[in-house]
Amino acid sequence: MVIARVYVTPKKGVLDPQGKAVLQALQALGYGEVEEVRVGKFMELRLGELPEAEARSRLAEMCEKLLANPLIEDYRVEVERAR
């Protein structure tokens, strides 16, 4: 079985109001060292048996089509093989 981890984050340069709010909250709590926060989404997908290369290309398609909005979001996929 293939386990895929998909990270969707706001594109660089796109306003991230959630990230801004979390940044301010952390700084208010005394964590002045925090310089930037980006808030995104994490998704875990379980796929059936298929070759890794094929899994990767299909996952990229899923991200482009549905999981992320390429206009405003970047995505990154990690693939792991599990038994």
Partner: protein
Amino acid sequence: MRVGVIVFPGSNCDHDCAHVLREVFKAEAALVWHKETSLRGYDAVILPGGFSYGDYLRAGAIARFSPVMRAVEGFAREGGLVLGICNGFQTLLEARLLPGAMVRNRSLQFICEDVHLRLENATTAFTRAGQPGRVYRMPIAHAEGCYIADPVTLRTLEDTGQVVFRYCTPEGEVTEAANPNGSLGNIAGVCSRAGNVLGMMPHPERCAEVVLGNEDGRLIFESLLGRLAATSVAGVTARR
């Protein structure tokens, strides 16, 4: 003359739109289930507000894959009139029928209140009964209404008159303070290059009756129905 109001799972302004069309304007309106694959017989289509698929993932992201959206795309390509209100606007953006995207409001909160809008383009089928520069009062009700687009797209929108409404003060000034959600250029509504697809965050169907204390939303329905009446008369004439 028949207007279709699309019903996605989670749409919740579908009945409101149908009510205004039927009861206020005595027009024919039908609710169109999202699994329909054809829009034959409709003269215009409205994608109503709501929380299609719970707004899970992103507002409109899942609805845009509903079977009916294929038909909406074809309808729009052939010049059919498509109006997306609030969640409907978000869905049109996700479907790339309109340029740009929506992110969460600057305040991170859901905002429901009346806003003022300056009409920037009174030539579209949805705004032709209005006057450019006039200020309208309509309510917004959304959490993801901050409109963004890349600089090139934005410039194109401005140059081609695709910005239809902007948030403004009651006097019509486009200011930062009058921008409820952080939208670039105070954009509240945009149309397609051909002008036959309009997306807007404010809800005209909520302010089209005197009993509710505000009739500014009539602009949209009067324009739309007026255009449909005109084209159907023209159609009849041509066929003769």
